[in-house]
Every structure is written in C-alpha cells, then in structure tokens.
C-alpha cells in the first residue's frame, strides 16, 4: 500500500515530466514524424531498402546521418556502436562524477534522531519506529524531489555567481506517514509535503510551516493496495483546529519540525548518492564496461 501511495504521490510529477521528456525527445527535423500517415509509409520504405541492399553482399553499408563511427576493433571489441559523441560523453561523465564526489557531503547517510530505522529500496526510503505498541512508518521517494523553481535558480546562479555562491540543492520529497496501533486492521495515513514557498533558498525568510499535511485517510494495514473507496480528508478546506490537533498528534510520535528538517537532509544525501550512482552506471553503459 505504501508503495502504491508513494508512487501515486510521485506519479503526477512523473507523468508531467514524462510528457515533457517525450516532447523534447522527438526530433523536430524528422520528416517521418511530420508527414501524416507516416506509419504507413515506413514499412514501404523499409521494403525498398531491403530490395536495394541485399545484405552485406551488396557492398552498400548504411551510415548514420553524419556521425563518425569508430572502428569497433579500436574501441572495445564488442562490435557495438561507439561514436565520437560517445567518447566525449564518457569523458564528460568522468569529470562530472569526480566533481560530484568532491562536493558530496557524506559518503554515509546522515542519521535521523528519535530512534528511526532506515530501509532503502532504490530511490525509496522507509523510516520505521515503534512507540508504546504503535508502529510509525514514514516513506518517501527521492525521485522528483528537488523543486523545479530551485533548479531554475541554480541555472541562473551559474550564469551570474561563482560556484561558491551557488545555492545548495535540497531535496524536499513528499512523504507518507502511516500510524498503526497494535492489533489494528487499519492504519491512519497522512500524506505530507514541504510547501514550496517554504524553501527560502537562502534569500529571506518564509512564514509557512516547515511541513504540512495534505491528505488523511484510513487504509488497510500492511502492503495491500490503496483503497480508493476510503474517505480521504483534504486539508485545503479543513477546520484549522482539527489540523492543529493532527499536527500535535504527529509531533507526539516524533514527526515534528526537527524530524522534517532531518528528513530533508537525509533525502538530499540519498538523492545525491543515487545521482552519482546513476552517472557511474551511465558511464559504464556508454563506455560498454
């Protein structure tokens, strides 16, 4: 259930970014994509090619548009594609990885105070603790956890400021708190977030709570699927006294402003670690190692 919840929380962001990625990925100059009914044209074009180019014996070797292909026997002997662009990409990644490791604050993840145990599953983190028979878990995913405004500020910063003046990247993931009483069949689930206007980015102070509850509902205990038919309380139009009681409820269980600050530190460290790992995997993939 928690996985579904965390995925649901992150899905909206992923869907929107996926949509924009797809838009960016389509090459504008590709004629087949512009022309209507291109899908019917392609197979015909492919069959013409087959007639014209009778395999390797035709002596005709198709080339990519304008890339220079390194002789496979010089690159790595795998027979796979290795272009000049790949070589430059690999070298760029090597530098990038070195720089990222230099600025990495801690190789090991920061510890949360308050007796929380951490479990990692890729980019998803789960913090758990027991408190007088109650089980409290907090789950978050570092994917899409860096606010988009912040990324724009970093880019602008690179144009105007020196590297030392660049604002620090902070990960502020949505997180889901699940409170389960001993022997209970249902868990009380709080979907929380860091309000965007909360992050001061080092310029001036904001006046919102450090974290906020967005939705509350009861869900079946354990990893069963999210129950869509369970009433979900949205805090947008909630009585503020009720909201404060819920915040006090969470604070009594160790989810308070201190926890929220420590969670962003942990999430930032995890995100950076995963980013570096991704760059290393990408480098291995590009370099075919």
């Amino acid at each position: 259930m928690l996985k579904s919840v965390v995925r649901a929380v992150g899905a909206a962001v992923r869907l929107s970014s996926a949509a924009s990625s797809a838009a960016r990925a389509l090459p504008l100059s590709c004629p087949t994509l512009r022309s209507p009914g291109s899908a019917t044209i392609r197979p015909f074009t492919r069959s013409l090619w087959m007639l014209k180019n009778n395999g390797a014996s035709s002596g005709y070797r198709p080339k990519l548009l304008s890339s220079k292909v390194l002789n496979p026997s010089v690159s790595c002997g795998c027979g796979g594609l290795h272009t000049e662009g790949d070589k430059a990409f690999g070298e760029f990644l090597s530098d990038e990885i070195k720089e990222e490791k230099k600025i990495q604050k801690n190789k090991s993840l920061p510890k949360m105070s308050g007796g929380w145990e951490l479990e990692m599953n890729g980019t998803e983190a789960k913090l758990t603790k027991q408190l007088s028979g109650e089980k409290i878990t907090v789950t978050f995913n570092v994917n899409n956890s860096i606010p988009p405004n912040f990324e724009d500020e970093v880019e602008q910063g690179q144009q105007q400021k020196s590297p030392e003046d660049e604002p620090e990247i902070v990960s502020t993931p949505n997180f889901v708190i699940e409170v389960t009483k001993q022997g209970g069949k249902h868990s009380l689930v709080f979907d929380c977030h860091f309000p965007e206007d909360e992050m001061s980015h080092g310029e001036g102070e904001e006046e919102s709570d450090i974290f906020a509850i967005r939705e509350v509902s009861f869900q079946p205990e354990g990893d069963s699927d999210w129950k869509e038919t369970s009433y979900t309380l949205n805090t947008d139009s909630l009585d503020w006294a009720l909201y404060d009681h819920m915040m006090d409820f969470l604070a009594d269980r160790g989810v308070d402003n201190t926890f929220a600050d420590e969670l962003t530190e942990l999430s930032t460290a995890i995100e950076h670690k995963e980013y570096i790992k991704f760059l290393e995997d990408l480098q291995s993939f590009v370099n075919c190692k």
Partner: protein, 168 residues
C-alpha cells in the same frame, strides 16, 4: 479565516491546538472574532533578526506585533469597509525566549505564551507603553483580559507587563 497559526521553529515543543484554543478565548473576550490574526512562532535567531530589522534592537525578545491598522485609538475596534480589511495583523511569538524565561522563573510555558499573546493583541489594537500613561492604560487592559481568561478557564495568568520601562 480566523487565526493563522504557524510554527517556524524546532527548539520548543509547541502544542498548537492548545495555543489556538487560548488565542480563540482571548479573541472572544475582546470581541474580535470576526478579525483575522496571524500568530507566528519563531526561535531566538529569527525574533532577533526581526527585532533588529524593525526596532534596531539586536536581541531576542518575547513578542513583536505588526498591526494591520497602524493608528487605532487604544481599544477602539476598526470598522473595515471591505472583507479584505477584516485583519488585525501578525504577532511573532519568540517562543524560545519565552521558554528560557519560564525555565528561570518556573512558569508554565503555554500559560505564559497566552499572556504574551494577550500583550501582542493589545498592541494590534492600538495600545502602547512608551509613556507611563500609556503603560498604565495597557496594563489595565491586560489585567482585564487575563482576569476574564482566568474566570473562563480556571487558570491564573498574570499580565506580561510588570513595571514601566521606556526601554521595552
């Protein structure tokens, strides 16, 4: 709207529901329920910043008030023409400062915060304490508010103001 309560600090374990309930009691006593009010709880670092910025006093304090209506006659409620003007302003509570004071004087934190908030609301309603006369007027008002509060809740809060000092 009502009371917008924000907790920006992590030094003091704040009971939000209790603070809101007490503030609502004070609003009821003063007859200002229809007005919006902001209560922002901050630590010493932040209240010192604000104190320095707006009062040129580089030190933490217990409360700073920012009235929406700047020239109210003390105790005279504003008569707004538009809904947007149903606002008394914001009160910054230096909760860390208050907590330290409570520890020194063995006082209840949340009770003291309520007394401090009453003081802050008086400022939003035009009360000042820059002269001895103003101080006496404000003290009288605070005494009334807190005696009513004590009657309604069974608690024993005392006014924040002890002795006139032009420095505070």
């Amino acid at each position: 709207m009502g009371v917008v309560l924000r907790n920006l600090q992590k030094v003091v374990p704040l009971r939000r529901a209790r603070l809101r309930r007490d503030v609502d009691t004070l609003r009821h006593i003063l007859g200002i329920q229809k007005f919006d009010l902001g209560i922002i709880c901050v630590d010493n670092r932040r209240i010192q910043q604000i104190n320095n910025l707006y009062r040129k006093k580089n030190a933490p304090t217990d409360v700073l008030s920012f009235p929406f209506y700047e020239d109210l006659r003390p105790g005279k409620l504003p008569c707004p023409l538009h809904r947007d003007e149903l606002n008394l302003g914001d009160i910054f509570l230096g909760v860390e400062f208050v907590m330290n004071q409570c520890q020194k004087e063995s006082l209840d934190l949340h009770g003291t915060l309520t007394a401090v908030t009453a003081h802050g609301i008086c400022h939003l309603l035009g009360y000042r304490h820059e002269t001895e006369e103003e101080w006496a007027e404000m003290l009288q008002r605070e005494r009334y508010i807190l005696s009513e509060y004590n009657r309604l809740t069974g608690r024993h809060l005392e006014p924040l103001m002890k002795a006139f000092s032009p420095e505070t």
